[in-house]
């Protein structure tokens, strides 16, 4: 049944990862629908035909990148939102974590922001699916916050969607900003989250 690592499989995964890395790098200043197969293989230093041993086409490589880019996010935000400190502390920490993530993985963030509405259907849909899943997770964790006791599931989902969209917005704002603009972006994001949180506290008053 050969589920041993194997020198063969290891090497294959290695060049596969090299293709993904090269693709991600090239996508920093162009979009997926214009990224050429030969362009990628040239960077890796491999024959064009070798590409087909790993991906059917560029769209296929794209969806692989989606999983790589969004896979790590889930656990992170889950833990951040689960913190039981006050609202202000949670907001500060969230923005902080987002900023750190953008600094650590700028290419991944850029890829997601760019291809979320990009020209390749399969990738667009993969990102949309992942973000929807993401919103579901957030919606599940939200009831743990004191401001949200008594909220309907529907309302929680509405809020979760707003959070996720705002998160993506903030991340891509960090991306396009110079280092000296970063603090201004962060401050604004915090205030916006405060505003939303304020709305939450009075949601059941009307």
């Amino acid at each position: 049944m050969s589920h041993t690592p194997g020198v063969r499989q290891a090497q294959k995964q290695k060049t596969r990862q090299a293709l993904l890395d090269a693709g991600l790098r090239l996508l920093e200043d162009q979009s997926l629908s214009s990224l050429g197969l030969r362009e990628v293989t040239r960077v890796v230093g491999v024959a064009p035909a070798a590409f087909y041993r790993h991906f059917r086409d560029m769209a296929d490589l794209g969806v692989a990148l989606v999983e790589e880019a969004l896979g790590s996010l889930h656990a992170m935000i889950r833990t951040v939102l689960a913190e039981q400190d006050g609202a202000q502390e949670r907001i500060d920490r969230t923005v902080e974590v987002v900023a750190a993530h953008v600094r650590a993985h700028p290419a991944h963030v850029r890829f997601v922001a760019r291809e979320r509405h990009g020209g390749v259907r399969a990738v667009r849909e993969a990102i949309g699916e992942q973000l929807a899943l993401f919103a579901d997770e957030v919606a599940e964790v939200l009831p743990g916050q004191s401001e949200l006791t008594g909220w309907s599931e529907r309302d929680a989902h509405m809020l979760a969607a707003l959070y996720v969209d705002h998160l993506v917005m903030t991340a891509s704002a960090f991306l396009e900003a110079t280092p000296e603009e970063a603090e201004r972006i962060a401050g604004r994001a915090r205030q916006q989250l405060r505003l939303i949180n304020l709305g939450c506290r009075h949601w059941l008053d009307e």
Copy 2:
């Protein structure tokens, strides 16, 4: 000084517009950085070289499309926000107007959403610039709302940015949605705006 219309100039503007229209159409299922010059001229039925009589390159055509797509928006939202009805009515009307705009100009909306973070720097910056201008306009009109008396200019701008981002989000959500999903999207957008508005009403309490 020849500022007469002239048969010459008229025909030139006509094919220029044809190039823009063809480009916009082709951009519905690809992104600008992969759109070919010949592809556009082929649709218009004109020689490839003729392209250069109107645009330096594809990026140039792109920024022209940005102005075409975002130019009409300004006046519209200005009038919507200026309405002095209650908050609920204003929210309903805003979402309604956005939905109508997406239905009327889907290609323009798609273009803006796609190229806002797209692979062509000049176009990306042009859109960012226009949206920032847009936020400025919104920030100027906002103090007319009763909920926002006593707000600092900085806070008004923070809110305006949130509104603009939410608007773009909502518009592109409408775009990707099937007709039967549209009402769900609209309902969610309205609730999100209500939540934000609720936050506004208590912004100066803390």
